[in-house]
Symmetry: C2
Subunit: 146 residues, 2 copies
DNA sequence: CCTTGTTAGTTACAAAAACAACTATTACCA
DNA sequence: TGGTAATAGTTGTTTTTGTAACTAACAAGG
């Protein structure tokens, strides 16, 4: 039997981050899944367009660090449900500009409100300073390339 | 086009946590994937056995919050590669006790060392206090049920 | 004992993700 | 120009995951 040592899996950052990420997105997932039939990639695309305005799939892919095939399929589904429209870019006819329809904007606004409330609930047991530190360090981890 | 507001997707905790989790496990993933041909579930099972000693699939499932089918498949693969053996529990012949083989213990020790170094590298840009706060809040998020 | 219900683990099938190959367009440069 | 390389996005195929149904073993009350 292996010797015990001071390493605790529960504190190993990649593991811990994953546990926290999964647990803390569960309830939010229920909302966009049950209520809008969306997948994670789909609400992410919706939010990118809702927050940053019109974008191409490529731009979303870069900002969200998601593979282009995931974006492509998410965009397809959102277009099927008439939540966005695609407009060929005349300056570069390979790419297309994605624009939320009024229905898409409505869905975004509702989910955005849910997200705000949800984030507030998640941080409700933390002090302002703690929340600030937490987000700063997470951004640092998200940007770092080891 | 939607109005801009003060909500930033990059700071929405479920999103941010996920980005941090993915980015910060990338390089570690390379190691267990390329060097041992393991999947995420597999190294988790390996680590549970390496750290906590002999366990049943059910116990790992509870501690790691992973579904029993994932565990079952990971155990199968690890057994195929002779990294663990399964022993029927005579007190309850439905369950089986999982035990690392010497090869499994060796794999664990190597990956454990990698993990330690990796965790140190991830936190190298943070103060002791920051790291402590980070882990504490992450544990809090991971345990919370909203 | 013998039903009824529960639990540990596996298997089968459906959903989703990862990866590679493809089309259409643009960019560059000889 | 025209030919090669690069880029935006899609499609097809293979892995991996999620979900439900299954087998085998236990538990407990009649």
């Amino acid at each position: 039997m292996p010797e015990k040592d001071d390493f605790d899996l529960q504190f190993f950052l990649p593991y811990l981050l994953n546990q926290a990420a999964e647990e803390s997105s569960l309830a939010f997932q229920q909302v966009y899944k049950r209520r809008y039939g969306m997948l994670r990639t789909e609400w992410r695309v919706l939010f990118h367009l809702g927050i940053y305005g019109e974008m191409t799939a490529k731009q979303i892919s870069q900002r969200a660090r998601m593979h282009k095939t995931k974006i492509s399929r998410a965009v397809q589904k959102l277009a099927d449900r008439r939540l966005l429209t695609r407009v060929r870019d005349d300056r570069d006819r390979r790419s297309e500009i994605l624009v939320l329809t009024p229905a898409g904007q409505g869905a975004y606004r509702e989910l955005h409100q849910v997200a705000c409330d949800y984030d507030a609930a998640l941080t409700s047991g933390m002090s302002k300073a703690e929340v600030q530190t937490l987000r700063r360090l997470l951004v640092q981890l998200a940007r770092r390339q080891i």
